[in-house]
Amino acid sequence: MTTPLLSLQGLTKAYPGVVANDQVSFDIGEGEVHALLGENGAGKSTLVKMIYGLVKPDSGTMLLRGQPFAPPEPRAARADGIAMVFQHFSLFDALNVAENIALGMENPPPMGDLASRIREVSETYGLPLDPFRTVGDLSAGERQRVEIIRCLLQDPKLLIMDEPTSVLTPQEVEILFETLNKLRSEGTSILYISHKLEEIRTLCDHATILRLGKNVGECVPAETSARDMAEMMVGSTLQTPERGGREFGDVALDVSGLSVPSPSEFGTALRNVHMTVRKGEVLGIGGVAGNGQDELLGVLSGEIQTTADAIKFNGQPIGKLGPTARRKLGVLTAPEERLGHAAAPDMSLTENALLTGSVREGLESNGFLKWADTKNFAEKIIEAFDVRTPGPENAARSLSGGNLQKFVIGREVLQNPDVLVVNQPTWGVDAAAAASIRQAILDLAAKGTAVICISQDLDELMEISDSFAALNEGRLSAPRPTTGLTVDEIGLMMGGAHGMEVAHV
């Protein structure tokens, strides 16, 4: 057997109160794309930070090609051929590509030489990039290319990629995968961190699964179903949301001829939106981000007001009502941005429960707050939605993304809404939490709530919605029943009147 490129043996790292990695061992072979899978908080980040020299392990050893390897800092790790593309880019918007890359180098060559090397690498690996473009003008995908090229210029033996596809369009993902395959064929190993299972199945040769800091299993992704991998990640059987045969009632929410300018300079105006949602129906609204999703949620929540008749709830015009009045009627919403919009980061969960729950849960009388009742409501949400937190007195920002999302959705669901509008309900949430959120939405619909689910995750929309519409530049396509809808038809709806215009790559 050949020596693996990198061998981790019994790596352990504990932080106060939590063991981030507990005796983690696995090998990464030469020229292998190795996936590191795990829920949020499973210890993936800590593990790669140890490999990259950002964090020192408490115990355990690493062997690089059979030699002991313990990088005291990232510079040493880079010198040994390890490069990392972070999830969040560290680029200066005002500088151009070549300048940004030069900044990260120990001894940058003259700008002209560097630019030609950047061109060379970008052409070799199919990552078109002009070294003299200003980073501020680049798309997220192009920025990622800058980071990747920065790594490739070091000629790495092991490339670590942390959730690289979370910011990419499907076309950009395809290009990235081609690049990674080319790197693999040249013998570069890749450690690929993700929780998008389908991606891992197409790309990776081998997968290590972490749960609660422990290595709980390895598999060959191509031979393992996404469901099996998800269950290994979660440690329990994953439940596919159940949808009973539903009968729809009367129209609960009727939006007609809704046009509003965007409140922000960079937003998208909504143009002549029509839709109706019946009681018990789930309407899924798809579309690429930035096509009016935030504005649509704002209009439905009452943050943006319109003409009274544009939105009707049970026949009653509500377009001019504010958020509190709409909540009183039973129209509840859960925005996409958890910290800062759906919840106040520095306030406790109790206070955040009050944020939308005051009217329907009777948490105030004559303006005076009932803190005991509010705390009970917060505890009810925490318990019903399995929010992992020591208690309701903790600040919202101390929760992981998935847990806070469960709290935010749970807060609205438990108020028994007549209409619930959610935007990206499972964004950045691990598989188990996502499944429970979807189930909660379906249960609510089964009880007769009209649900609008705005999401960019088409699989999610196909799974839970009864009808589907797509937002495109602020226009909403006519809703159609989900059953029998083909991928091509969905693509056409998302492309709108402009036909199938492919996103610029």
């Binding site: 950002l54 005291p72 800092e73 990232p74 510079r75 560290s90 990260g104 929540s301 009452g302 943050e303 504010g322 958020p323 509190t324 009045a325 909540r327 919403t333 925005p335 941005e337 910290l339 800062g340 919009h341 759906a342 919840a343 106040a344 980061p345 520095d346 306030m347 206070e351 009050l354 944020l355 939308t356 005051s358 105030e364 303006g367 005076f368 707050l369 803190w371 903790n394 600040a395 920002r397 101390s398």
Partner: protein, 360 residues
Amino acid sequence: MIVLEKRPQPSKAWSYATPLVAVVATMLFGGILFAILGKNPVEAIGTIFWEPLFGEFAFYYRPQLLVKGAPLVLIAIGLSLGFRAGIWNIGAEGQYIMGAIFGAGAGLAFYPLDAFYIFPIMVIAGAFGGWLWAMIPAFLKVRFGTNEILVSLMLVYVAEQMLASVSLGLLKNPEGFGFPGSRNLQAYDSAHNAELIAGSGMHWGVVTALIAVIFAYVLLNRHMLGFHIRLTGEAPRAAKFAGVNPARLILFCLGVSGALAGLAGMFEVSGPSGVVSIDFNVGYGFTAIIVAFLGRLHPVGILLAGGLMALTYIGGEIAQSQLGLPAAAIQVFQGMLLFFLLAFDLLTNYRIRAARSEVA
């Protein structure tokens, strides 16, 4: 190298400890400053903090603490509501002046009538004057989106001109032999904000300040409006989502802080000062900003901070007269207090850790 690491949530212990640590640090570095000026630092610090409370003439200085502390607390309570919501009223000094002019004007309009209702009318007029002056930046902000910091600040200078104008004209004492300044309200019983217990320093302004502290505490901790104020400061988008009307909040916060500053001015002019004069205002409106922050924008904290600030004022005056410390040194000393408070405040949200330097 030292790195700052954000805490998962603000540290309770540090938020209480910072004011104390800041006071200790101020004493330390203030002591060094006094030593450089050639004074005995222990004696100077002792004079500032000990003399007014327990010294030989404490019977005189203790009432002065209430007289100086009350307007500071009253104004700072009002300011803190706005500051909590991210609404920055920097012009309390102007609202204080207008409160004094309106209050004194209302009282003097009745002169020499003797009636029980004159003082209550003056209270209302004083609050109205401050409120009116604060409504100018509030209205401009709501209607045109102007910056309330600049508008309220500039209105201080307008108010100062008004003060000079009425001292020399409208409210000038007709029996004052041509000197600027109004009649002395202390000599007009119906309008005099007299001490409630002689020699205690306790006047209606002190009572009002205490009521304001309780009112603010209940508002912030037990009332929806207070929750909305805090929410707006913490996360404006979440506040809008929760149904807060930002315009109404701006009008409320600026209105309350203006009215309280106006009350402070009215109680001052009808009591300790007695006279509307060109140099009536002594900067309470600005110092109250420091008091509000020193008290961590918390009502009880502001009460304590107002007391501490009054202490440094009076102690500073004693140090000036007894030890010959320059007035500027006392001001530097007070500035240090705010500086250290803000600096140590960092520790509630961050912790300091030693780390090796890294090249990213």
